[in-house]
């Protein structure tokens, strides 16, 4: 009776959700590839949409780097290509500000938040915890489509006659609140705000789904402390998003009121063209608090998925158990909690009370501890490992390198006294591009090279991947390392040109080097794109478990089926990191292999 009950319930469940591996649905192209409810397809949709965005965002950076490298030259061919953004072959200042704003917005939110989490949470969570799909496949699809709608609105804003938003990705008022202040603060800013609200809806739908899938849909034996670190990282990422993005919405809603209803949440004592405006009693600092309460956790939303994937990839390719599995989990937890109480380190120079500054300095420096724990664990994991030098592995190592370089400068900036000199200079630009931008991209590349066989059933070309890595790695340091020196010398960020400062003329040559490196790195990414799309169709067929990894996704059929496994979902017996276990024949033991008698007796002690 009891067994009958479970069996039938199982059947009812699988058929109700269309998960039954054995059945074949008649699927049209549209239901299979466009409005799909399958988590693997939605993951790929997030990935490819993110690639499109990354190319757009990267192209923008090339345009403004050309301006910064050659501020006195004219570029008629760019004017022919980009029309209204250029006058007499020179980039317009307004267009420059729109470009940096859009570059930041696209890269931070659309690529490294939505696409990075969206891709790997979708592809990996159900496969690695042993679930047939997400808890709610419909919400999952909606999450993607809200992301698309938000993207379309953001993209449309670029083509407005007044230009896209231009107040920087942090959209501080009063610049962003008063349409009169600059062309981009008009309709461009309105669309930016609308797009971001929809973007948060997408994040929320996705995040709630990821959390409840991880908590509720794990297969038999997959206790929380047997989950791979990727899943742990994606879990905390989702929680950070669920708790911090709504605060951005609150901030944005008040900003929208200031723009449309004439309220004064962020405005006070404004005089435009000699005419005093009826705004009173508001505070622009309030916006900064609300923004950075999201903004700082946001940087961890970007980096945690990459950290999780790197942990997994280093262990697999070094053929060693991850060092300090629990320490890794608790340092993610520590980062999650501390990440919520350091936001004002972005505001040391905004006029906050210096005592408050000291408090935030303290918490900011504390967060370096869990970050350092992770770095030590990665290094110890590969230390004396049986290294398999593969594309995912080198990108993971590149991630660690970037994270160390950029993390160290974070400690400089975290000291409010040093930040007096460094705030709003190129030093900050260098810091966050290395620690967040490039590092997260490296994590993403590592993840793509590693899980490509699982996503598309084929392998990517290794040699192209090595060239891609070499150019990107060296090029990124070439771009961002010199910026530290510019920042120390006081070169301000976000300036259209520094021609008016005699003193910065020494950097003219350096600026050209940076710009050339940026252009090369940008075009090098096409090696990756070609490799990616070529391999989807023509790559070498993947074997069932090409990296000899332990996690469950490598037990699901290569061709990728609805419901993920034919028949029963595998049961889990061990953690994900049984690599090179002494006395074992092969150097890996997948999670679904039962414990041997010897291991059982060991576990008892």
């Amino acid at each position: 009776m009891e067994t009958l009950h479970t069996v039938t319930e199982q059947h009812a469940h699988t058929t109700a959700h269309g998960h039954d591996g054995g059945h074949h649905h008649t699927e049209t192209f549209i239901s299979k590839y466009i409005f799909s409810l399958d988590h693997k397809t939605i993951g790929k949709q997030f990935l490819i949409t993110g690639m499109i965005w990354a190319v757009i965002g990267g192209l923008f950076s090339v345009l403004f780097r050309i301006q910064l490298g050659w501020p006195d030259e004219t570029f008629p061919f760019l004017e022919r290509m980009f029309g209204a953004w250029y006058t007499d072959g020179k980039l317009n200042p307004e267009a420059y500000y729109s470009l940096i704003t859009m570059h930041g917005t696209i890269m931070v939110f659309f690529v490294l938040t939505a696409s990075l989490s969206g891709t790997f949470a979708n592809v990996l969570i159900p496969l690695q915890i042993g679930a047939r799909d997400m808890a709610s496949p419909l919400m999952n699809a909606l999450s993607y489509w809200f992301f698309v709608i938000s993207g379309i609105i953001m993209f449309a804003s670029i083509f407005l006659p007044t230009g896209a938003a231009s107040a920087g990705w942090t959209i501080y008022p009063p610049l962003s609140a008063l349409p009169q202040t600059s062309p981009g603060s008009g309709d461009g800013m309105s669309l930016w705000l609308l797009a971001m609200v929809l973007f948060v809806v997408s994040t929320l739908l996705g995040g709630l789904n990821y959390v409840s899938t991880i908590l509720n849909m794990r297969t038999k034996g997959m206790s929380l402390f047997k989950m791979p670190l990727t899943v742990w990282a994606l879990f905390f990422t989702a929680i950070i998003g669920i708790l911090s993005f709504p605060v951005l919405v609150s901030g944005v809603v008040l900003l929208i009121f200031d723009r449309t209803l004439g309220t004064s949440f962020y405005l006070s004592h404004i005089v435009i063209g000699g005419v005093p405006q009826p705004y009173a009693g508001g505070s622009p600092i309030l916006f900064q608090h609300l923004f950075w309460f999201l903004g700082h956790p946001e940087v961890y939303i970007v980096i945690l998925p990459a950290m999780g994937m790197v942990s997994e990839i280093l262990a697999v390719h070094a053929r060693k158990p991850i060092f300090g599995y629990k320490a890794m989990i608790f340092s993610i937890l520590g980062i999650t909690i501390l990440g919520f109480i350091v936001w004002a380190h972005h505001m040391f120079m905004a006029g906050i009370n210096p005592f408050l500054g000291s408090v935030f300095t303290f918490f900011t420096l504390l967060i370096a501890i869990p970050s350092a724990v992770k770095v030590f664990n990665w290094i110890t994991t590969i230390w004396k490992g049986n290294l398999h030098i593969t594309p995912p592995f080198i990108f993971a190592v590149g991630f660690v390198s970037m994270f160390i370089s950029g993390g160290l400068t974070g400690i400089w900036l975290g000291n409010s006294t040093i930040d007096i000199q460094l705030h709003d200079t190129y030093f900050v630009v260098a810091h966050f591009h290395i620690v967040m931008g490039i590092a997260a991209f490296f994590g993403m590349f590592a993840g793509i090279y590693h899980w490509f066989p699982r996503m598309f059933g084929r392998m990517m070309n290794t040699n192209l991947a090595y060239i891609h890595f070499a150019i990107t790695f060296v090029g990124s340091y070439l771009i961002f390392w010199p910026m530290h020196f510019q920042g120390l010398a006081g070169v301000p960020r976000r300036y259209y040109t520094n021609n008016n400062f005699e003193i910065f003329a020494v950097f003219n040559g350096m600026n050209k080097v940076i710009s050339i490196a940026a252009i090369i790195v940008f075009f090098a990414q096409f090696l990756f794109l070609v490799n990616f799309f070529w391999s989807i169709f023509k790559g070498k067929k993947s074997t069932q478990n090409p990296w000899n990894a332990n996690t469950l996704e490598w037990t699901s059929p290569v061709e990728g089926i609805h419901g993920n496994w034919h028949g029963d979902i595998p049961e889990v017996h061990r953690w994900a990191y049984d690599y090179s276990r002494p006395g074992n024949e092969s150097d890996f033991i997948p999670q679904n292999v039962p414990l041997t008698d010897k291991e059982k007796t060991e576990a008892d002690h």
């Binding site: 469940h13 699988t14 808890a135 709610s136 995040g207 789904n209 509720n216 309220t263 009826p278 508001g282």
Partner: protein, 251 residues
């Protein structure tokens, strides 16, 4: 097959869906279903939205030397003409909303007992309470707007001895700069409006829950978990009101 399904229904009636993946997987840490997990996390998220608004309220209010005394602003009552009853009307509103929450608790209870009519009965009263609350809010807004309050304009200013005084725009005219602190109106309409929007959403969802119950959707499913989830949301909206009430009317 039919027999088997029957057995299944018989078995699962009166009990909530399994919290695990339905194939004998691990249970969630709190042993709750995925739907409720989602709802709880959503409410946490929404709590952060409201906290941000209330913190903005606190910051702006503390940044002002003088702030209107709520007793002199919120003292009108329908059908009472010019009689002033400080806090009278809002107390009634609050009472209505809390009662509505109690009704929904009863609906959830009836759901556990698989009593379809009971669920419908109490949901009905819960919905009515929510709608009545919205009606009250509309009246209060309309009254303040008639007095000249706007999100960008505040007619309650610091009169003699710091007393809250109404600037009568109909008799005294309308100065370009707001007589009282502008933030007062902006925060009031902004935050109570956002809360009202939540109440409105809740009423719509509850109406949907009512009809789904009437159609027997949950009875067929074998459990009324959906009503429980709606209840969670509804209590949350109620709880938020307590804080909004505290911030705007009592302090």
């Amino acid at each position: 097959m039919a027999e088997v399904l029957e057995i299944k229904e018989h078995h699962t009636a009166h009990q909530l869906p399994t919290p695990d993946n339905g194939e004998g997987g691990e249970k969630s840490p709190m042993n709750i279903s995925y739907g409720k997990t989602m709802m709880w996390y959503f409410l946490l998220s929404d709590a952060f939205t409201f906290s941000a608004f209330l913190i903005a309220y606190a910051c702006l209010r503390l940044g002002h030397k003088w702030w209107p005394n709520p007793n002199d602003v919120f003292n009108a009552m329908p059908f009472m003409g010019h009689h002033k009853i400080p806090m009278g009307f809002v107390s009634i509103m609050t009472f209505i909303l809390i009662m509505s929450s109690v009704f929904v608790v009863r609906a959830v209870q009836e759901g556990h007992r698989m009593n379809k009519n009971g669920v419908m009965y109490w949901m009905f009263w819960g919905i009515l309470g929510g709608a009545a609350f919205l009606g009250c809010q509309a009246w209060e807004w309309q009254h303040l707007l008639a007095e000249g309050m706007r999100p960008f304009y505040n007619v309650f200013y610091e009169g003699k001895d710091g007393l809250t005084t109404l600037w009568n725009i109909h008799e005294q005219g309308k100065p370009m700069f707001s007589p009282g602190p502008v933030a007062f109106g902006a925060l009031f309409f902004g935050i109570t409006g956002f809360h009202g929007f939540h109440v409105f959403t809740g009423v719509c969802l509850n109406i949907w829950g009512f009809f789904a119950t009437a159609n027997g959707t949950f009875e067929k499913r074998g459990h009324y978990e959906m009503i429980e989830k709606l209840g969670l949301y509804w209590h949350f909206v109620d709880l938020v009101w307590v804080f909004v009430f505290l911030a705007f009317y009592l302090m």
